[in-house]
Symmetry: C2
Subunit: 454 residues, 2 copies
């Protein structure tokens, strides 16, 4: 590598390290300070909207060769702008995620333990060419008191820069200053981010499945995200055909490119001859092409599925249908093919429902509704950070709580462990005091602590 | 590699894969079944105690060259045996960690969302030559419905085998069978475990810091543990000298080899000439050797600390003492040197306490007590799985909740997402129903669900 290249690398790592230095400022800020900053950013964006729209027109002009779907996401007009401004107020309106008490135990007289929520520290976000995503993730990081290192899709470079410049201007006069946020620009910078373990605490990649997988495979930093969404719906022998057709149709056609759309449909043999012709007609009327196993082909005359089809995320108007002999076979099929995102059963038999919900090991397991409900907004989480198929830290749709960790506080009056050991050991009381209200250890009895700048 | 070597490798990976197949059996078991198994295991160990003690004597005989501390941990006599048997009842007495409701929201009429606790899946545990650790971790995995792959320290190989054989005999007749638990024996097996991402969900290494670091650096599987415990205590200008000396003495001498003992002591300049001579006398009487910065040396005449000393985890009766000019300097010093395990302040000034507790970014941050309280038993967590200095999944002392993840269940009556979109979209209700009681989605209204084997 050239000396200039090496220097640039060092420079990026130094920039990330300097963001890390701002974690204490963000973590110790008040909800009012953070909400005030969100408000200034909204005002600033409105003030700077002309420059932002112009930058976006330039990005669009440079992206004439891109796929229509990329251009759709890239386009940042008045409508998306208004929705971004609204989302800033929505995030400000969320309850303060910092300092929630998750456990409160009196270990002994005047020895109080509390476990409280605190920001994770530094979030690394790499996202596709969707300018609205930049504002959304910045607002969630502000609300949660986290620092952030951003890298957006190259097609949106000018729009991102315009948005970022506006945000920085709003930060300048605030409690936070501008050191807590960094926008990286080049593709090589992503690889530097991936190497920044110890400086970045959590990576959130958004984009193609190949890209998310690349991030997961190339960093020691924990990753919040999902590489694939191979979802299955199973129609039990006890399912009502009307409900089953409606749910399977919605789960495939409502938004075929979404990760919570189904790719595989399993049908119990006892209901197949009644269900399949109606389902096939509904799919055909909605432009869905079907492949099936031998028994399905016999009933509805569709092309036969290949072995690969059962593991393929079509993300389009195509579905693989298979007849199974039992609930157990359906559960075993799902275990073998699911990406652990969202799987569903349609059944009236309550025992079958319970068995399916218990034994299917996915982030979301649904009964008698569409898989498309798997979504932070529909779940009422307030804001969606992403969907996680990991079992660690967060699983399923993740709201702002995915940006939080915890910290134990213990407040005493000079107690030592020696007192609680040996032949004359004093016993602990371990009285559960419940988690109501703000931290008692951090609250100020005499004065309004929000007036005191830390 | 020889063909035989390659076959053995494949064999270990196949064995781990076959453990993974048992996750559904464990996850769907009832608390009664799991407690019954814990009871059988206790009975079985008592029945097999003679063989276990004999195996341990043989291990001890083979370990004559080992350090005294290794032999101490390896020795498994009647006293440790009794404590292991007691711990099995203690774990059985814990509340059922499976199926706790963490969120319950009515999205709309007859569309109920619940987030419930479920086992993570397969735990990989690599532990030092401490036979009691084997029984403890096995019992926590049973109680939490997790499968487990174990690898114990080689010095304890015969004792571990005897314990494992006894446990397997107790499993044979139970709901769980013997497939959910695997004991690996060779050092090479550890490297196979580290490569088993997708099969093992969480690694819990216990042992030397070098070993835990090796595990963290050589696997893509999430790791619960801590590689080091460089803890600091700060004596503020507002601290009472009596309390300060008692806490700093306990934090160093109660168990110097523990990760929650302090290695650095910071003293505010305004209190240093009063505090340091008394502290130095107390340390000297308890065999603690001191190194200090120039100002400390001037007051108590100790050797000067090297630059390295401030980052050294002595794990012995040695401490580095430094005078700071302000609370801010103390906080900055800790930020530069802490391993984010446990740090403490001794102060009467409530504002100083709050500032320290807010700005110090460690898993445990204490005021006016010894750092040695950082421990799952002392915290009243019921059972300690380990201490985590990670910010993701679990932080600080981790109880059985560290073996759990979550799953979203959604139960409807045929609802589709299309109803809630577009110009005539129905709104969501998002009514928070609270988290009291067992899952309503999984409960059986008509019959006793525990009678029905899934």
């Amino acid at each position: 590598m050239s000396i200039a290249g090496q220097q640039m690398k060092n420079n990026v790592m130094q920039q990330i390290a300097s963001v890390r230095k701002e974690t204490a400022v963000m973590a110790s800020s008040t909800d009012e300070q953070r909400n005030g900053l969100l408000e200034s950013i909204a005002d600033g964006l409105v003030r700077d909207s002309k420059a932002i729209f112009e930058a976006n027109l330039q990005d669009m002009a440079n992206a004439t060769d891109c796929a229509a779907s990329v251009r759709d996401r890239l386009k940042f007009g008045q409508e998306k702008f208004n929705s971004v401004i609204r989302s800033l107020s929505d995030v400000a309106a969320l309850s303060d995620p910092i300092g929630k008490v998750l456990l409160r135990t009196e270990l002994d007289d005047n020895l109080l333990l509390e476990k409280i929520s605190v920001p994770i520290g530094v979030i690394g976000m790499v996202f596709e060419a969707r300018p609205d995503a930049l504002v959304q993730i910045v607002s969630l990081c502000i609300k949660s008191g986290n620092c952030i290192v951003l890298k957006g899709g190259k097609e949106a470079a000018l729009t991102n820069k315009a948005l970022f410049d506006s945000i920085q201007r709003s930060c300048e006069g605030s409690f936070a200053g501008t050191g807590w946020i960094l926008l990286l620009q080049s593709h090589e910078d992503v690889n530097q981010m991936l190497k920044a373990d110890g400086l970045i605490d959590l990576m959130i990649p958004r984009g193609t499945y190949a890209f998310v997988k690349y991030v997961k495979d190339n960093t020691r930093i924990p990753v919040l995200g999902h590489a694939d969404g191979l979802c299955t719906m199973y129609i039990d022998r006890s399912g009502f055909v009307g409900k089953a057709v409606a749910c399977a149709l919605d789960a495939k056609t409502n938004y075929p490119a979404a990760c919570n759309s189904i790719e595989n449909l399993l049908v119990h043999k006892d209901i197949s001859s009644e269900f399949l012709p109606i389902m096939a007609k509904a799919y055909s009327e909605n432009g869905v092409s079907i492949v099936g196993d031998k028994r399905v082909c016999k009933i509805i005359g569709c092309p036969e599925a290949t072995d690969n089809d059962w593991d393929t995320e079509y993300l389009s108007l195509k579905i693989s249908i298979r007849i199974v002999d039992s609930l157990d076979e359906a559960i075993a099929f799902i275990a073998a093919h699911t990406s652990h995102h969202t799987d569903a059963i349609i059944a009236e038999d309550e025992q079958a429902v319970r068995k399916f919900l218990t034994l299917v090991d996915s982030a979301d397991v649904f009964a008698n509704c569409s898989t498309r409900f798997a979504d932070g907004y529909r779940f009422g989480l307030g804001a969606e950070l992403g969907v996680s198929t990991s079992r660690i830290h967060a699983r399923g749709p993740v709201g702002i709580e995915g940006l939080m960790t915890t910290k134990y506080l213990l407040s005493g009056q000079g107690q030592i462990v020696g007192t609680y050991m040996g032949p004359n050991a004093k016993g602990f009381k371990h009285i559960d005091l419940g988690t109501e209200g703000p931290s008692r250890i951090l609250s100020d009895s005499d004065e309004d602590s929000e007036d005191a700048q830390p």
